[in-house]
Amino acid sequence: MDKEQTFSIQINHHLVSVKAGQTILEVAKLQDIYIPRICYHPNLRPLETCDTCLVEVNGQLKRACTTKCQPEMMIQTKSEPVKIAQQEAMSRILKNHELYCTVCDNNNGNCEVHNTAEYLQIEHQKYEFTPKPYPPDNSHPFYRYEPDQCILCGRCVEACQDLQVNETLTIDWNREHPRVIWDDDVPIDQSSCVSCGHCVSVCPCNALMEKSMLGKAGYLTGIPSNILEPMIDITKEVEPGYKEIFAISEMEAAMRQSRIKRTKTVCTYCGVGCSFEIWSKDREILKVEPQVEAPVNGISTCVKGKWGWDFVNSSDRLSKPLIRKGEKFVEATWEEALEVISRKLKEISQTFGPDSIGYVASSKCSNEENYLFQKFARAVMNTNNVDNCSRYCQTPASTGLMRTVGIGADSGTIRDIARADLVLVVGANPAESHPVLATRIKRAHKLHGQKLVVVDLRLNELAERADLYLHPKPGTDLIWLNAISKYLFDQGLEDKKFLKDRVNGVEEYKQSLEKYTLEYAAEKTGITQEELVKLATMIHEAQRVCILWAMGVTQHLGGTDTSTAISNLLLVTGNYGRPGTGAYPLRGHNNVQGASDFGTMPAWFPGYEPVQDAKVRARYEQAWGVTLPEKPGLNNHQMVEAIFNGKLKAMYLFGEDMAIVDSNSNYVQAAFEKLDFFVVQDIFFTKTAQFADVVLPAAPSLEKEGTFTNTEKRIQRFYQVFEPFGESKPDWVIIQELANRMGADWSYSHPSEIMAEAASLAPIFAGISYERLEGWNSQIWPVSKDGQETPILYTERFAFPDGKARLVPVEWTAPFESGEEFDLHLNNGRLLEHFHEGNMTYRSAGITHKVPNPWLEVSPQLAQERGIKDGALVRLTSPYGKVKVRVLVTDNVKGKELYLTMNSFKDMEAVNRLTSSYHDRITHTPNYKEIGVKMEVLEPEGESPLPRANYRFGNRQPQLGVQVEEKWKRPDWIPIPEMINKENSRNGQSDYTD
């Protein structure tokens, strides 16, 4: 690493030591010297639009945000010329912004425009405020743009162009009255806006505001406009000077603090692990406010995290326990419900043995709740029949990594993905399924020259942006992965030193590759030899490579083997154990990592210690004071089979809509019908709950405390925002109450006590504690007792006894064939706006406005062949079931490949009516991605399943940042130093040199 050069400069006559490359603003911040900076945001590149950060540098006025420190620099931040220049800058801003702070919903103590105007002691409007000739844009369901309040700082544009990289917003500097525009100047709702919320979060004033804040945040902001407008007029007429206005608005802002509660939470949707504040008033959510301190996302969010919280207050929430009586459910008390459950579970366990009951945990629930649930199954109910939904998605990836490098998790952080030279994405669609993680790739690719390769059936957003996009035949990824490894060996391009020092099994592996020649690979995968060589060369030439994958790899018959092949390729090229390298199986649910980590798996205790290991078992037996079962239990898939063969009689499931999300749902639902007793614990009356005997109302993350673990293995705390809805209770409370009825004697009063117990028992969590996780702090496991975390795995050793990785030979498993009549390949998955089947996100009217239905993507070729258009209604039939859906014709898909989005919990639309019960041979993960269907046309055209208001019909406008140079070219723009100089010489007091 380069040795960082340091030197000293003077700020306000004090000597300060700085590092080369630091800007004046950065140094001043470190020194606690305040320099105004309205357009500057720490998560964005400097914009240079506001000029409020002008300071004196060796006697000249320069912008602190972009001026790099030089040795011997003399800087003045408080001199008279600086004050005059900054006041001029502020006055220019206020020409575009009417100050009515006390009646403004953004007056919450954090308004940059307010605070800066106050700091600069602006007394009066120097340039008269004139409204712009544009009405406010209220078309979007979640936010508004008010041009009259917009100061044209361009933060929103930079955030949209270069942080989120959706490239929707620009400022048109060439109009008489510049403004922010969406796409080529269309209403926001009709644009390519993905509703991520970046622009609203970075707006330094009230120009871009969450609609949920308007009229709600202030004491006076709800005043009707026929009273409010004269009030603003009076204030303007009287104009007592802004000092007095600020005094009142500050008082009002202070009063708001007691009624707007700000609570840090961790997002409950995907596995990226964004954290942010929830601003709430009583039971109402005013807004989601991301903070720079958030370790994963900073101020980044996606449509679901920023706006998708209406489900918490949905009137459809379960508020009381329900007990099945005959052909209906009857509301019951907790006492009655728990009594029935404990009596039935005891009966069944005594009659058929402890292994006749299965326990399914939730990747939506906290680490503590998963820990407690597996403890309940093992210690109280004496069985290892406990599993979670990672079985449906990521267990093959974990297993592939455990085989080769030892730990079944991401080997670095999202920061490492951002700093890689090459990112290779296989069978994953991060721009929709892990939106904030994808922003980091798009940003690195756009700004920092990162290379991007996407191998996928669909031309998804990252594929469109990629330097190289490859379309393999479905289910053939293992072949090209192996072929590339072989090519690198053949050319002598493998990382010889890395293999020699750190990897076992090289020779055997090399031999196993023999048949994976370029010719063979090209024939089987449909990727040309040239493309394969190009990819191999790119991987070889990159210093740091990250490979990301998801369900497109794992949900196949050979999912584990393909994951293994990915890891093998990383080993061959030495891409492990360094910053900017590694394997990244992208976790789908917010806590799918944590659920497995904390032991809701049939063969593992918390921290991936095998239940068969007597020593480990002894540790838990001693701590829990019981004898524990030795034999690994049934996984989800085996539980369903065991119901059919009569071995499993009862199930207790929480926070999982297994009847919809498990493959071949007809089969799974038939299994549920056979159960003697079924307990479902959820926040909604789900499809799965319809099969239950007792339904328990649970509380979601906003109504309890706990921790989640994201895809990076990062553990983060979330805090309670609301009291539980109705009579619902946090899952850990329910599990404890049931356990105590079944004879346990637990007395956890707070989730921190559960975490302390887990940390004391599982070595990889040794140093994890709620104190260390306070606020925005986080810990990435393994965490040693002294609190040392491990952001990058394998820097010195791989997680095997000899510290060496293993190259594991793997062979291709041909994908499942449904039979000749099923002539179309059906792919399926999530989409940006709805999470999973949409149980939570459909409760948001705004999200449903953007995406009201699932849809079937059909290629233009196939559409032409079958004579169908957008909106056509078709029936898809597989050997296992049928669905009826409407068509969207798009070149995202090719030829005979279809894509069905999974955002539906209606029986007639749910993709898992079609999928089979075949599965990965090692982990039993269903082969969701290998299904043949036939398509019947019911109506050749109709109303499009996607409304025009969806971003997919937008028209992006890529550019770099806000293009301030265009502003500087305007005839009415004079640089501030120039203007001050002119004025000074006119006044004959030129004490200031240019």
């Binding site: 120097k126 004269p230 209906k328 499809k687």
Partner: protein
Amino acid sequence: MARAITQIEKEKTNPVEEQSQALTQVLQAVGNSSQALIILLDILNELHQAGILEILQGMLKNRQQVGAIAMSQLNQPTVHHLLKNGMSILQFLGNLEPEKVEKIIHVITHGIERSSQLENEKPLSFWDLTKMLRSPEVSLSIHMIFNFLRGMGEELNRDHPVHDEGK
């Protein structure tokens, strides 16, 4: 065998029971603050007798219209002047230094005292006048008055501050 069912029988809420629960809560709260409530009731009674409660009731019920009328009345030049002058006076008072004001008040008080002793004095001749002007006390007072006039003049002459330029 447990088929999927969707019918849920909600426990019927008993309005009588709910009301009695609410009443018990209210009574408890009343018991805890009986003294304060008795005083409050007395005040309410007085307000009622004075007719103020009815006025408030009327205003609250019609707050939209009343507010709009009040605002349109307030949004007049005279009211703007009133508010502006009021604020100017407050600012003026705020700008004065208390020590100096105190001193001037002392000076004026003493001056008033002396002037009230006028009755016993003879009429003032021109000679007396020059003599008085020479006395240090009178000279000092005249000095002060002239300085006051000078200060006013200086302010009248003063340039406008820099930031008003460039409009």
